[in-house]
């Protein structure tokens, strides 16, 4: 079997991500987090069709999250946090219906709306959009994410009312909405979050 796993996290690697690695036909797990890797996401990334987990957090990657990410339909974990990515999230992300972990936090240039269709990602257990410039209210469709255990929308431009539909997220153990622009009072449906240990 050719290379399935590349774990190079917590080094001082620099330069760009070589697009060639994404042609490895059995590649399942790539972790390049906590390095000094720069440049943009290679479009070749879409070739790694068996990729299960991709962690690129805590680097200095920039540019858009390329739509080719949408070809990684086996992906369960996508961690792009703490980089310099910018522009809107590609709608192709919504094709990743096996995703359990989606972390975009700490990319100040990520803007635009939270897509309503995020409700398709019903296996999500972790979703963080904190420390981005995403605006728009929380779509009520989030209520479909019934497996969600952690939801972070802190320090964003997200505003409006906290939709009462969030009350159906009964698996939540952590909810961080601090520093965003929500209006009105703390909703009473919080009482349905019986597993919540952090608020």
């Amino acid at each position: 079997m050719p290379l399935q796993q590349i774990s190079l996290s917590s080094n001082q690697l620099s330069g760009r991500i070589p697009g060639e690695i994404f042609f490895l036909p059995s590649l399942q797990d790539v972790n390049l987090s906590t390095n000094r890797i720069s440049g943009s996401l290679p479009t070749e990334i879409g070739g790694a069709s068996r990729l299960d987990s991709l962690s690129l957090s805590n680097n200095i990657l920039e540019g858009s999250i390329v739509p080719q990410v949408g070809f990684l339909t086996d992906l369960k974990k996508l961690d792009l946090s703490k980089n310099n990515f910018e522009n809107e999230l590609p709608t192709q992300l919504l094709q990743l219906t096996k995703l359990m972990w989606l972390d975009i936090e700490g990319n100040a240039g990520i803007s635009g709306q939270i897509p309503k269709e995020i409700s398709r990602l019903t296996d999500l257990t972790y979703l963080s959009l904190s420390n981005t410039t995403i605006r728009s209210p929380i779509p009520s469709q989030y209520s479909a994410l019934t497996k969600l255990e952690q939801l972070n929308i802190a320090n964003t431009q997200v505003g409006g009312y906290i939709p009462s539909e969030l009350g159906s997220l009964t698996a939540l153990t952590g909810l961080n909405l601090s520093g965003s622009r929500f209006r009105k009072s703390i909703p009473t449906f919080l009482g349905s979050f019986t597993r919540l240990s952090e608020f």
Partner: protein, 49 residues
């Protein structure tokens, strides 16, 4: 090879290790670029894409 004190760069020649299934070098002090030769292993695969 994780969590050693390895320094320097990742040699291009790693791309010749065609039996390698996992490359684990996390937690070292490696510098330089990720060699694109890692992708060569795809061409040598007996499993066609």
């Amino acid at each position: 090879m994780q969590n050693n004190g390895l320094t320097g760069s990742i040699p291009d020649e790693l791309g010749m290790l065609t039996m390698l299934t996992a490359l684990s070098l996390q937690g070292n002090e490696l510098t330089g670029e990720i060699p694109s030769t890692l992708g060569n292993l795809a061409a040598l695969s007996k499993y066609p894409r």
